[in-house]
């Protein structure tokens, strides 16, 4: 579990995160949603330790991030898996080498042990037979799967995903969403996903934190988001014609 207490982050005079407090639960897919510019990416990068923050605390199962030594922070980072928006695969390595990378850096396993583990996670993300391709030869969906495989190869306790299905077709996006949900439940990981995709919200939003202008505006789940009266959330959720129709059908059914 990750606890966030009164988190503040500024860039110069621009106050981005304005006192966010929330918890991200273990074994659940926790979504951070909100419009562009709401502070989602900054929030995620603060959670990852990529951005220092001025005030507040982030607590990883009792460990307060800002109180950790550099070595303890490094150890904590070894427990984190991250799927970047653009996959961030290393161009100069094959898919297999990309997945083996965390093992090469942080374990003393033999090459064959690393290959076996990488092979296992690549099969887990349904990516068999692409081991020796370069990332540039893989499709967007394949690259996302490789990124997920790389993120979970070291058996992380925390999985962070920054818009994992951006740029993917709707069918592949759902496959990726479901894969993340399955892995979260299977390995009991605390997963935090940054998204503005309503399909993801509906599919895997077990806990949803809605951000607006750097504030935590609403907290709920995919079961409660369509029932909320919060104006900012309804504006966001029903911004497309499709979801307006879904709401109308829902209201007709209930009337």
């Amino acid at each position: 579990m990750i606890e966030v207490k009164n988190l503040h982050k500024s860039f110069g005079d621009t106050h981005i995160l304005k006192g966010i407090s929330t918890t991200f639960e273990k074994g659940k897919t926790n979504l951070i949603i909100g419009q562009s510019g709401s502070g989602k990416t900054v929030f995620l990068k603060c959670l990852l330790g990529l951005f220092p923050y001025e005030k507040g605390s982030i607590i990883y199962e009792g460990r307060v991030y800002n109180n950790l030594t550099e070595d303890e922070k490094r150890d904590l980072r070894a427990e984190i898996g991250m799927v970047f928006q653009g996959s961030a695969l290393f161009d100069s390595m094959t898919i297999l080498e990309n997945v083996m990378f965390p093992l090469r850096m942080f374990t003393k396993q033999s090459k064959s042990e690393m290959e076996d583990r990488a092979d296992f996670v690549l099969k887990r993300v349904n990516l068999d037979g692409a081991h020796h391709k370069m990332p540039s030869e893989a499709s967007g969906g394949m690259q996302k799967r490789v990124a997920i495989a790389r993120a979970i190869v070291n058996r992380p306790k925390y999985l962070f995903c920054d818009e994992p299905n951006s740029g993917l077709d709707p069918k592949t996006a759902i496959v990726i969403d479901n894969l993340i949900k399955e892995i979260t439940e299977e390995y009991q990981i605390t997963t935090v996903i940054n998204s503005h995709d309503m399909n993801s919200v509906m599919e895997i939003g077990e806990k949803i934190v809605f951000l607006k202008n750097g504030y935590k505006e609403w907290v709920g789940s995919n079961k409660t988001i369509f029932k909320t009266d919060n104006e900012a959330v309804t504006d966001f959720v029903y911004s497309s014609e499709l979801f307006k129709k879904v709401r109308k059908m829902y209201q007709d059914e209930n009337s």
């Binding site: 991250m82 970047f84 961030a88 161009d91 990378f101 965390p102 090469r104 850096m105």
Partner: protein, 245 residues
């Protein structure tokens, strides 16, 4: 103010580069890859330019000496001195700032743009040690490339004498051997080591700290070439003043 800020940031980057070292088994492969990319991959252009510029220096010297009192072997002597003291260490380093420097800036800059550096940091890897340190170590072999440049520059001069007939090859060789001061080679290699460090770190600095997208990668490469060249010229002046005067 920005320049001072950048200078401070550059030295902090150098200090950070030595922290949290990468596993030796991984680092060894990175160093070998960088030796291939930065040194072996540059030998062709270094050899080509050295040979022909050595020839041109010889022709220019020969054509500008029309006083019969000046001995013919001076052409070989002047070529040797020009090539060893300035052309090979300094001129080749400026060319390398364009070739190797822009490669380093654009490759690290592209990694920054595509979040690969963030990925390294999130995994707990010291990205500066992982990316910059192997380049510094690889460029310790830069004097090897400069030795080849010296040899081929002088050979190019001899070829110019042979094919152009400006002075006899015997005269040229005599000039090359005339009044040789071994310290000049020491001076040239000290300069080469200092330039190698600049060649590895300044382009890395511009790539690592760049912000923006593909367009900014191009701009960062240009800026890194300009500043690496400026620093090499300034260091050349300072080292020459300190070591030869």
């Amino acid at each position: 103010m920005t320049a001072l800020n950048n200078i401070g940031k550059y030295f902090l980057m150098i200090a950070d580069m030595f922290r949290k070292p990468t596993k030796w088994s991984v680092m060894k492969q990175l160093i070998l890859k960088d030796i291939d990319d930065l040194i072996i991959g540059s030998l062709g252009i270094v050899a080509f330019i050295s040979f022909f510029v050595g020839g041109v220096v010889t022709i220019q010297t020969a054509l500008n000496i029309d006083n019969p009192l000046i001995p013919k072997y001076l052409v070989g002597f002047a070529t040797r001195q020009s090539v060893i003291l300035e052309f090979a260490p300094t001129f080749i380093s400026i060319i390398m700032a364009g070739k190797v420097g822009s490669f380093i800036t654009s490759s690290i800059g592209t990694m920054r743009v595509t979040e690969q550096i963030d990925a390294l940091e999130v995994m707990g890897v010291n990205s500066l040690n992982y990316l910059v340190f192997p380049k510094v170590i690889a460029l310790l072999l830069y004097p090897f490339a400069i030795s080849i440049a010296m040899f081929l520059g002088i050979l190019g001069g001899m070829a110019a004498c042979y094919f152009g007939g400006f002075v006899s090859v015997d005269n040229y060789i005599m000039g090359v051997q005339q009044d040789f001061t071994p310290f000049h080679l020491t001076y040239a290699f000290i300069k080469t080591f200092v330039f190698a460090f600049a060649l590895a770190t300044i382009p890395s600095f511009y790539g690592y700290y760049m912000k923006g997208g593909a367009l900014e990668v191009g701009k960062a490469s240009t800026t890194s070439f300009v500043w690496t060249s400026v620093v090499i010229i300034l260091l050349n002046y300072l080292l020459t003043q300190m070591l030869l005067s």
